[in-house]
Amino acid sequence: MKRFTAFVRKEFLHIFRDSRTMLILFAMPVVQILIFGFVITTEISDASIAILDKSKNEMTREITAKLASSGYYNIKHLLHSENEIEAAFKRDRVKMVVVFEPQFSKRFYADKQASVQLIADASDANSARILTNYAEGIITSYQNSKNSDVGAVAKPIETQVRMFYNENLDGVFMSVPGIMAMILMLVSAMMTSISITKEKEFGSMEVLLISPLKPFQIILGKVTPYILLAFVNVLTILAMGYWVFHVPIRGSLFLLLGESMLFTLLALSLGIFISTVAQNQMVAMFMSMFALMLPTILLSGFIYPVENMPYVLQLISHLMPPKWFIIIVKSVMLKGNGIMYVWKETLILMSFTLLFVGLSIKKFQVRLK
């Protein structure tokens, strides 16, 4: 036990004396959640648009006012003819142009059919779709209120959309679980694999092997500090999500922390496994980067939905431990589910952990090659 504590103490000294490690461990999670929270966002706010109003009556002005007051749009220009549309997109960089046909209200009341044209800059397809969808929604609700004003029958089928668990479609709700998965992977898997291979590279592993320390003491001594540090990171990310981005924690905090620790253990076992295969820090880092980080970001459903991937990639995504962790975190944090709803995913994480621990024990050498 004394040996073990001496080892853990040494590991902490390594960590605290290396400013770069400290930066990765403590500054990066904060920076990343801020970046992902504020920058990678699918929400639209204050998008520049232009209006070409050919009828200029009360009705079109009301619709324009509704668009302006929705918070999604910022009306930059009022155009006078179709010729100006192109220039509005190119020179003024508006994202959408709304065109009202002449005699709009007359046609609305008399013909029961008036047209609004939405022209969007689809060079960014996603935001174009969102911008037009929102505008359609605003115009439809305006139309419904007018219809009821004049006592006309509303459309026979009316769809009402409500976004459960994330009413405002905040992108940061998606980011927090993803960032947690990414940071835990980084801290646990990459940092441990690097710190173990560092001993191999500098030759101190030779001396450790010669010592009476048992392999599991070396490994456990290496990972213990990272378990604690990863836990601090989980708390940081949750706190930032909760207080800065108002991401709710609807389920049990204990369950959430418990699942996070399970995922940390999984990442640690992966890190240990990598270090048994990699001979130096460079290789360990690249393996962690390509084998862990990229899949965590791309294939786990963190940024791109798994459902939209080609079938083969969907199959591969099943092998990505972060995918299951993100499902669990979303389920517990946003939906408020208990263990009953995530036991399958939990079991998958546990099996991964056992698999990598087993492989690492098998691969750990008590000798040099």
């Binding site: 080892f7 000294l13 101190s204 030779e206 010592s211 000798r367």
Partner: protein, 301 residues
């Protein structure tokens, strides 16, 4: 007592250690001499249980590094060729760490490392990475000794260390020997051979001689002439193609010349060199040293 019998280790097709058999006696300072790539490190690592031999048998006081590697590791103090302590930890932290890991304390075995450690103790709060080569070496030796090993295995401890520190280091080893610790030390420096009780000359994985330095030199059996002239390089190439030359190689300021038969003497060498226009020819009789033995042994094998 350490017995190495018919031990071999291959890396791919390269025989790093090739059928080596040597014995190291209790309380001996044993030198393993050889150039880089001779297989010294591999042999030492097989002795200290870090590498499995392909063939052969090694015994350390009856313990087998393959089967009983745990016990073997308890009785060995090992200093690898590469500086392998923690550069970000201070001298004191390094020593404390290794003491604790080996289940002892600095105080308990202080008497063993005192002479060595006292020299670096004034800097004990300095990170090991900021020490000079000689100080690093003293720290590494202290760490290897802290658990009072029965056998000290040192892999090229004096490589990359200045001449004064090398001298000091060998004095430390002599002192440790008097405390009953058996020491195996590998080195590429032939001049260090005379400081060992016995030496083994190793090249290409094979041991070419294993005896006391004096006996190794005594077994040389040939006459060496030291030859010097104005144009040493031309002299070397000229002597190489001479029909009476067995071997010639530069050694210090002289060329060491060994003749094919004993009736080639100073006069005939002088005559040959004069006939080729050499000037300021100086020829002396040279007593062979370990380096000459080494060159001779590795050439004839």
């Amino acid at each position: 007592m350490i017995t190495i019998q018919n031990t071999s280790k291959k890396y791919g097709t390269v025989k790093a250690v090739d059928d080596v058999s040597i014995q190291v006696h209790e309380g001996e300072l044993f030198g393993l001499l050889g150039p880089d790539g001779a297989g010294k490190t591999t042999l030492l690592r097989m002795v200290n249980s870090l590498i499995l031999p392909d063939a052969g048998n090694i015994q350390l006081w009856g313990l087998d590094p393959v089967a009983d590697y745990r016990q073997v590791r308890q009785i060995i103090g090992y200093m690898p060729g590469k500086f392998s302590l923690y550069t970000d930890l201070t001298i004191e932290e390094n020593l404390n760490f290794f003491a604790t890991v080996f289940g002892t304390t600095i105080a308990e075995n202080y008497h063993l490392i005192k002479d060595i450690y006292q020299q670096i103790e004034p800097f004990k709060h300095r990170p090991a990475g900021k020490l000079s080569g000689g100080m690093k070496q003293k720290l590494a030796l202290s760490c290897a000794l802290i658990h009072k090993p029965k056998l000290l295995v040192l892999d090229e401890p004096t490589t990359g260390v200045d001449a004064v520190s090398r001298q000091e280091f060998w004095e430390m080893l002599q002192a440790l020997k008097t405390k009953g610790i058996t020491i195996i030390v590998s080195t590429p420096y032939m001049d260090e051979a005379r400081l060992c009780d016995r030496v083994a000359l190793m090249q290409d994985g094979q041991i070419h001689a294993c005896d006391t330095p004096a006996n190794v030199v005594a077994g040389f059996g040939k006459t060496i002439l030291g030859v010097k002239m104005t144009n040493v390089y031309k002299g070397l190439t000229d002597l190489r193609v001479w029909k009476h030359t067995d071997n010639v190689y530069p050694c210090g300021e002289y060329l060491h010349f060994i003749a094919t038969d004993s009736h080639v003497d100073v006069a005939s060498v002088t005559q040959y060199l004069v006939s080729l226009g050499h000037q300021n020819i100086d020829i002396v009789n040279v007593n062979p040293d370990i380096e000459d033995c080494f060159i001779e042994l590795t050439r004839t094998h």
